[in-house]
Symmetry: C2
Subunit: 365 residues, 2 copies
């Protein structure tokens, strides 16, 4: 089957994955790692998933300039002009605006999926089906579509999307008009969200026409839109990099959720269920990884475990680890760093990183 030549995908791969330190390091963050132990990085899995939806040449990777070589190494044969390099990190809105102007040069009729590079999707067929439905609707409507995951428990680490039960798009009941985007709730609030039945997890996966998203950026983030628009004739030329370097640093650092989605009136959500995880915490990773009979999730070819259960253990293949008497810990021995931390205390990693930067220097980050 020929894929629709107007289908485009922008994979956002600029994150630094600091919550997974030291498995994830600034020089090789989470999206470039085989965190599942399946032989493919999250980026590779994401890319191959979208190859089934978009013509290969229509898939763009947005990342930091420092990760360009990693992207080329992991996605064999990708052309340089499909790797969009941000000079600095400015959250998702500028990154999406930049990609839009690149795609505009190629195909003004583009319909675009924007997706993170570091999420896990277990039911790929369902995912592809939903995305294709969304693309089909997006191409004929000036709307912004986001995928909302049907929540299975009151997770306090995700943002939620509330939708209007009745006001769906035209007669297609798959698309619900968004009532409210919420920040991460506390547990009580999350439980209320679940009980209400009209809240979904915000997966940060968007589908829209190039026209619709550029209209929205123009309306809600005019400074960002105009910055790129002012040099649109330079994009795709040898002057692009100088131009981007010039405008990017002064660009407002703002998420597409906060800058556009929460403000626009034409936002629709598709309640979805395709085995999604943002793999955003050690707990989330532990949930989705394979575990042995004692509940230990182990990656590493030489890990020997005694009297231990419910640990998540990641050890470089060329290292041996003997672990005795440990329950419910995160244990990572990677390159020049060892981390041992209770699973329930994983939020402390942020503090560790601050302490390391102050006391030891960036070589360990």
């Amino acid at each position: 089957m020929d894929l629709n030549k107007n289908n485009y995908c922008v994979i956002m791969a600029g994150g630094i994955g600091s919550r997974f330190w030291p498995m994830s390091r600034t020089e090789k963050p989470k999206q470039f790692l085989d965190v599942m132990g399946v032989g493919e990085s999250l980026l590779q899995m994401t890319y191959h998933r979208f190859e089934k939806i978009c013509p290969k040449n229509n898939i763009y990777i947005v990342t930091s300039a420092v990760y360009k070589d990693l992207v080329k190494q992991q996605l064999k044969g990708i052309e340089d002009d499909r790797i969009i390099c941000e000079p600095t990190r400015r959250n998702t809105a500028p990154c999406i605006a930049y990609a839009n102007f690149r795609i505009l040069n190629q195909n003004p009729q583009a319909n675009i999926i924007v997706a993170p590079s570091d999420h896990l999707i277990l039911k790929e067929d369902k995912f592809i089906d939903i995305i294709n439905k969304a693309l089909d609707v997006a191409k004929d409507n000036d709307i912004l579509i986001t995928l909302g995951i049907k929540p299975s428990y009151p997770n306090t680490g995700y943002g939620y999307i509330q939708y209007y039960r009745v006001a769906s798009l035209q007669s297609d009941n798959n698309f619900k008009k968004v009532k409210l985007f919420t920040e991460k709730p506390n547990l009580e609030m999350a439980q209320m969200f679940i009980d209400s039945g009209d809240f979904l997890w915000n997966a940060g996966i968007f589908v829209w026409s190039l026209n619709a998203i550029n209209n929205a950026l123009h309306e809600f983030l005019p400074d960002v839109f105009n910055a790129f628009n002012s040099g649109r004739e330079l994009i795709g030329t040898e002057k692009e990099m100088d131009f981007i370097n010039e405008i990017y640093t002064s660009c407002q650092s703002i998420s597409i959720d906060y800058g556009v989605m929460e403000k626009a009136a034409n936002v629709y959500v598709m309640p979805s269920d395709f085995g999604w995880s943002d793999v955003g915490t050690w707990k989330a990773l532990y949930e989705v990884r394979k575990k042995d009979a004692n509940g230990n999730s182990i990656t590493g070819k030489n890990v020997m475990v005694y009297n231990s259960k419910n640990n998540v253990i990641t050890v470089d293949d060329n290292k041996l680890a003997v672990i005795q008497g440990m329950d419910d810990y995160i244990i990572v021995n990677s390159a020049n760093v060892l981390l041992i931390c209770k699973k329930d205390e994983e939020q402390r990693v942020k503090q560790f990183l601050t302490d390391i930067e102050v006391q030891k220097g960036k070589e360990y980050l």
Copy 2:
């Protein structure tokens, strides 16, 4: 002060220190490590201690041939002929016999201290004083002297020496005639030993004249003695190594304690107290190492500890370790190996090593 030219020392440095794996590895065992974190290995500390008792050229190191370079590296300027290399490990009796014939070539009037290379002695002045007293008595008497440590608690990891309260050597009450050598006792037995007041810890440090020990070897281990004696004219020549290679493998593997000390009638013990530890277990090492306010004994330049107490932690200086929520563990991150084990379970290390050899190969030992 000139040191007595008849004072000789044989430092036994052929052990493999497997109980301290993976801090101690077959390629660099315990005696070559700065286990105290003081800037000197146990061997270096031992050697420098005996430099205050014996002329430097009278100090011999007996070790395995594979450790010769390590010895030369750690004891700068030591001559090759002061490093006695065993072709294979045959316990202490053959090793002492070999050293005896080397020393016999140099000085038949020698009085010899035999000492392990991997013990810790905190009160050096007291130790030197005791050794000098022993040497002084040994030179004029056909006796075998061993140092016995006044026990401070019922340790079940040491052998004990029982002495006769009254029958001391001539009129010198510092030397007690030995009644019995015992193996490691159980706790109940150890407590009885302590209560009795006439038991001492066997430190494996011996003082005797060359004449006395060779007489004893000739009497109690004639096969061992005769093996070396049969080629005594080759020792010190270029044919020595071939001769030793030929006899060593077929030599009985037996300790000097079991082969001689337990059988000889002329054995005396000197009850001593010089801050001795055999540093033979992680618990023993933990006892003698410096600890922080939370009872953590840490070696390694980049170890960051949170909510943790009473651990013994050893991390290579070029590695960073962040350790959270750990109490009473042994944590070693050294070269290509990580060990995490409860301090109370340290006896399991032996099983780990067997498992590793079977499952992973010797590269991790």
